[in-house]
Subunit: 193 residues, 4 copies
């Protein structure tokens, strides 16, 4: 099975997820600058989720670049990842509209954890197929960054109920860590680097 | 006619259908955990429909992999399938918001039946073009699974008015049967398997 | 300039237009069968517009199959066509929700006329570039079907104010005429046919 | 890294942005022609934004045609551009629904400025990678048109608070300047032109 359509379908879903999130930014009736103020937390959570989707798309793009074969298991592992990412607009809107209240902030982290686990399952499904000596297996290695992210999300969820701003700060911090381009795959592709 | 654009258009429509369904999960105003409770049936029906669209995309992907020529008839048979799948967000929302009430649950099954029939017509349009000895015709065979699904949906529709939870259980059961990857096409492609 | 991205972008826009139209089918609060009755005209206008978008996608697909070069003029002629088609969800919803009332029905026809004219401009932009002896110019010929459609839409718009059901019937009739696959391009590609 | 998926993802996002803007054109309940009148400014702002997205897609299409390599920096510069363009539906709706009131009109210009700057950053990220002697660097040159646009937007934002119609007129004027196809890249590709 060629990988073209899996990539096209994933690009489509991620493009829609990243774009319909902006629909949560409801156009205010008043034309005053003050009408934008209640939208600020929604806008802020939109920026955060936009970056997260960008990171997932970026890593997805890098990963499938070195994938050779697609099996039924990989197709479903990929759909499972897209499922959790498709919930991001909902939790983004809920967290933003409630000014980062504890429960929505914890649920946002839960979706991030589930997406991270789904990504790990996808990586496992691919390396399982391609072999331990495959490019991807070498590139990902023990995936310390992935595992630490899950731990960080779990800590943030717990902290949501104590101080939800710390939880939000952790979500931003993890995003920044991932924003730094993941050179692992590029490194393996260019041995001299 | 090459098949690239038919695949791209279908991927686009299915990606949008699978993603706009999440818009039925309306962001609640309250930030309490209890605010999520009324959304549970909507969420559950979303998961079910997500899996169904995933199954259709998966099978569509497998089928067109072995298709060689696209004719006008195939284009319209494909659009006819997309039409019924495009109604899934509507019936998903109606069934979820009404907690799997009889009429919405029956209508959900009706759309599933129509989509299954539309898929059969698409298969017929393709095998009619490619010939009885084509890869696809051999792979699909008598399509017992497809025919049994239609019967199961019909039973579920009737049962919606007696016990709608049994109807919902049948929809889940059929989805699970299809979730098991359809090895028929892969089997024909690799004779040794 | 290669034509791949123009096709991909058009496929994307048409896939979204065809899918967001279903959002006009608002999920009713009641779970009774009678709750669907007020939705019937909306559903009917959805079916009609779905077929029209299908026809445009189909013809677009056939036309660009024989196009070799894309110029700036063709890009903008294509965007101009997509603009009018992007208004279809709005007029579809307005016509459906108002049970094919005169003004919405006339506006629906106006958008169909503008889309038909935009399509003719696109054909002209391409044949102008590819030459009068090009495959496309030969295939389209005098485009009698296109010209008659514009006349039929104009008649339907006028009749909207007298008997809007006749207007709706004309829209259906023109769609049926186009539903018959346009063999003109296939004919030129296969000289023996 | 090949550029196919970056182009596909960008096409997807722009196709969705250009199409969901039409959702701001809320279907009126009344079926009278007068019901359309309050929608006129929304429609007008939709046309303006449609043209702007068209221009960006057009230029994006031309630019990546001559790009050879995609790096992490280019991926993120591209996502940054898509972020600002994804805000266009929101500001378009706000400006339209408030009949081009000062603050929304100024915010519209702000998003246009940010998108223009993001485009410049993207151009810089690419030429930085491809070298000063690359096709793109030669084609863009000093990018006078891009710089003048930013100045024009800034002037329009300031004028929004004095006479918002002049601001709107400047947005239209800049769009018209860009509508004229950008022959710079085509010129470099065909030396004789």
């Amino acid at each position: 099975m060629p990988k073209t359509r899996l990539e096209a379908f994933s690009d489509g879903v991620l493009a829609i997820v990243i774009t319909i999130m902006v629909l949560e930014l409801k156009v205010p009736h008043s034309a005053d600058l003050s009408a934008l103020q209640p939208l600020l937390p929604v806008f802020f959570s939109y920026v955060l989720s936009f970056i997260y989707i960008g990171i997932y798309w970026n890593n997805h793009h890098h990963m499938f670049h070195v994938v050779k074969r697609i099996t039924g298991g990989v197709l479903w592992a990929n759909l499972h990842l897209l499922f959790w990412l498709s919930l991001l607009p909902f939790v983004t809107g809920w967290m933003g509209e409630n000014h980062f209240a504890p429960v929505p902030t914890a649920l946002y982290g839960t979706v991030l954890i589930m997406a991270a686990i789904a990504y790990s399952i996808l990586v496992f499904a691919i390396t399982n197929e391609e072999g331990k000596d495959s490019l991807l297996a070498k590139a990902i290695g023990k995936d310390l960054k992935g595992k630490l992210s899950v731990v960080a999300y779990a800590v943030a969820i717990a902290l949501s109920f104590i101080n939800h701003w710390i939880a939000a700060a952790i979500y931003i911090l993890v995003a920044l860590v991932w924003l730094v381009p993941d050179r692992r795959i590029e490194r393996v592709l260019t041995p001299s680097a």
